[in-house]
């Protein structure tokens, strides 16, 4: 797997964003961009090539699910692989995310193995 791909991590909680970045870096992914809200994430995806979006469900400006809808509605970036991270592990939340085209859903709390397994699966099925 190419680990030079660009991964965008969107989370308004700096600690969780750092945690995801560190977990990815420990597994060889070295091109990670962090943003703090959904609108900044959308602008980043529009402005540069992003190979994978990992977004928290709850964010200011634009939530993870709203970001997902905007990405999927924009023909130029609609195929960007997308993982939503949330404590919203309730069935209805997962169903909502998949109905809007998310590639996978990572429920908090998660281990580094959970994150890497999810990222690997999404990248392999999206390529």
């Amino acid at each position: 797997m190419n680990k030079d791909i660009s991964i965008l991590v969107a989370d308004d909680n700096e600690m969780m964003s750092n945690l995801i970045r560190i977990m990815l870096e420990k597994n060889g992914f070295n091109n990670i961009i962090e943003v703090r809200d959904g609108m900044a994430a959308f602008n980043t995806v529009k402005a540069q090539k992003i190979d994978l979006i990992i977004a928290d469900w709850h964010m200011d400006e634009l939530s993870g699910i709203e970001l997902l809808k905007k990405v999927r509605a924009d023909v130029k970036i609609s195929n960007t692989p997308f993982i939503i991270v949330s404590v919203e592990g309730l069935d209805v939340s997962i169903d909502t995310a998949f109905a809007h085209g998310v590639n996978d859903f990572l429920s908090k709390p998660f281990t580094m193995e959970d994150l890497i397994k999810t990222v690997t699966k999404v990248l392999e099925t999206s390529s």
Binding site: N13, E14, M15, M16, N18, L19, I22, K26, H58, V87, E88, G89, L90, K108, P109, F110, T111
Partner: protein, 154 residues
């Protein structure tokens, strides 16, 4: 307060600390709290609606929270901003874990957005009046408490 809720918060706290920070949290005996004073330096606070109404605060000492962050990230991060981030996120995850456990008992519980309170003498003002229940937890790095006050809607 229904013991089912107490157990869900105990199990949620143990699970989240274990998974996210590899820390073993041991619950102590719950007791009633009749004042508003937080039992820690930094507290995450979250409200509930749906099958229940009420709120949960998780109060940490700075030293315990710093160690939790260090274990999670693999590096020391002791800024106040990072500690507040951690308190809010841990509260979010523990309440989420507890809600998922309660969902299996056909209780549908929604949570608000977590907020963070800090300072040596900060106060916890629950949604409900009356005493809350403190669930103390011991870790190898100090104590934290879950301060919970919820009741069934029906």
């Amino acid at each position: 307060m229904n013991v089912v809720y107490i157990n869900a918060f105990i199990e949620g706290s143990i699970n989240v600390l274990k998974i996210m920070a590899s820390i073993d949290a041991t619950p102590g005996k719950p007791y009633l709290k009749n004042d508003l004073n937080a039992r820690g330096d930094i507290s995450g606070f979250i409200t509930f609606s749906g099958s229940v109404t009420g709120s949960l605060a998780l109060s940490f000492s700075k030293s315990c929270l710093a160690k939790i962050i260090s274990n999670m990230l693999g590096e020391d991060q002791e800024s106040m901003e990072m500690m507040e981030n951690a308190a809010g996120e841990l509260t979010n995850m523990i309440s989420g874990d507890a809600r998922k456990r309660l969902q299996s008992q056909e209780l549908v519980i929604y949570a608000g957005i977590p907020t963070v309170l800090s300072g040596k003498n900060h106060l916890i003002k629950h949604v409900l009046d009356g005493p809350s229940i403190i669930i103390p937890f011991e870790t190898p790095f100090g104590e934290f408490v879950a301060d919970v006050n919820i009741k069934d809607v029906n």
